[in-house]
Symmetry: C2
Subunit: 342 residues, 2 copies
């Protein structure tokens, strides 16, 4: 690593004092400096290949131009677009993204990871791990640490959040199934400890009721976790208890994959005997036979908006007018798995 050029060297090359060079190089203070001088400094900087030392700058300004992001499970394809969106937005303002993944089932591990990020003096945090009752969220708020929740939120969160509109998404699904003639619809829900699991469950109850579909507790099964195996177990239990059901609304695509298996294990056909729908519309599941009908959530936009919101908080001294949360509207990708009622 070659020796770096310092501001002082640039100043000397331009025949000015360090502080003048600093002002000339800094966008916001540039107009205080004589135009010719600015030109001279800029030229010298370019010629010498000067790049400011962010540590020295950060030490003075007390900002690292870095944002930390806590991901529950980076191998989940959901988070790729969120990260990509956030990174793109942050880059526009000269910020970089520090990634850390934490085992979301281990609350202590999440806390530790967040602490590491804070110790690094990240200017703000994007948190994708929040559970519904999350002491960590309350803690961040209390410590006045600029943070935004993304994808999942906490109950009556003191922090702003960017999430998908689960009520609308489930509405799309239920409406579609009703249009297809289904009247006995079941639900494999996600864990109710997550806002997504709980929210979609509530939405399912609400929509079926308002559309006049009878749903009693026997038509609903909660999965422990968003995994294929959990979906298989839940759907199995559900179909055993309620063999009359003709459609299953799953809280997520992986659960839907489990439901596919459960249906097949009973010798039935997905799509014609039992309709199945997923949530998230993750890549490649449109290649299944039958291709999965699923709710598409704008994850990339979620990342962009979360980053944008955080940028706004950082430049306006944080909690100016309370948490400005957003719910992003989903769309429905209708495919073969949600055929008409047999």
């Amino acid at each position: 690593m070659t020796d770096r050029i310092t501001l002082k060297e640039v100043a000397e090359a331009a025949g000015v004092h360090m502080s003048t060079a600093s002002r000339a190089l800094n966008e916001e203070t540039r107009d205080v400096v004589n135009a010719e001088t600015v030109a001279r400094v800029l030229k010298a900087a370019r010629k010498l290949g000067y790049t400011p030392n962010p540590l020295a700058r950060g030490l003075r300004t007390n900002r690292t131009m870095t944002v930390g992001m806590i991901i529950p499970d980076i191998e989940n394809p959901l988070f790729g677009p969120i990260i990509a969106g956030a990174e793109a937005r942050l880059g526009k303002d000269g910020y970089s993204l520090l990634i850390a993944d934490a085992d979301v089932k281990d609350s202590a591990s999440v806390a530790r990871v967040i602490e590491t990020l804070i110790e690094r003096r990240t200017d703000g945090l994007i948190v994708a791990t929040s559970a519904r009752k999350d002491p960590i969220v309350a803690d961040l708020a209390k410590r006045d640490i600029p943070a935004v929740l993304v994808n999942r939120t906490a109950d009556s969160s003191p922090l702003p959040s960017i999430v998908g509109d689960d009520h609308a998404g489930i509405g799309l699904v239920v409406q579609h199934l009703v249009d297809q003639g289904h009247t006995r619809i079941g639900h494999v829900s996600g864990p109710h400890t997550m806002s997504t699991g709980h929210g979609r469950y509530q939405a399912f109850l609400s929509w079926t009721q308002s559309l006049g579909i009878e749903v009693d507790p026997s038509a609903i099964e909660e999965s422990e976790w968003y995994r294929v195996e959990a979906g298989l177990a839940s759907a199995e239990a559900l179909l055993k208890r309620r063999p009359d059901i003709t459609a299953i609304v799953c809280a997520n695509d992986l659960l839907a994959m489990g439901a596919y298996r459960a249906v097949r294990q009973r010798g039935l056909t997905v799509g014609s005997d039992v309709a199945i729908t997923g949530y998230n519309d993750i890549p490649l599941l449109d290649l299944l036979e039958p291709p999965l009908t699923s709710v598409r959530v704008p994850y990339r936009q979620m990342g962009t908006e979360a980053a944008g919101l955080l940028m706004a908080m950082l430049s306006s001294g944080s909690g100016q007018d309370g948490p400005i949360s957003m719910r992003l509207a989903p769309t429905l990708s209708v495919r073969g798995s949600s055929g008409p009622r047999a």
Copy 2:
């Protein structure tokens, strides 16, 4: 953000000078300090909740304890495990991971992203974007910037790299197909500008030849890019030209998905009429009908090893004994898509 405790405050609370506190807190200099003093300082630090300011430290030591990683396409499920593995390994040594994704098709964009990471004074780089002829790789080496290539490498790379053993992987596939009785085998290759595309292609030629399978150029089709659509186009062209082929080795899972479609478009059945194999064994494709036979690459380990290698380079003053590259051994996940010859 509450005011941070400084080293000076800890020192005062412990009744010692700043520099003594510094030595006591620092693992490597701790043994120079009186044991009782160490205890006193540690206690004070804990009581006050002291966390060192990494910017101040970095300014002195000229290290940021940060590693940058350049990803070509963070939405590709391949990179999740690589990132997770790298992050876990880096965390052990107190390093954090700065993520940046770059459009790999735009060489200038990759260069710009790398430059940003370097300007941030990251201590080292993990590069997942390398093309076979990559001026960026040569440039990094020339500038003596500690860097490791992962997943893909450059031709006669001056930088160490951690990649999968493509020769062995394709060997597994070809051997398996031959065992199934196939003798007319085609190949849908990846772009030859990538080490993976080129390497698997070479391996295919080499293995078919050594196993006595006749392969002429008409049995091979190069895809422009690792995408389902490209795989469809390539497999279509291949099957049109060589309808006698009974098995297609695809250079990647997405290309294999395209091949599924091409086979079906000709009214044939995947697995029985035409065997198809993929590469990477990305999640969920075992749920297809038929489930995809694919080469499993230890991506998480790839991330771990790359990070470990970089750590070794950083602590030993970089290029001590030349690039120590690794090829990680793959395994074959045999499933329904590679049935016996009809």
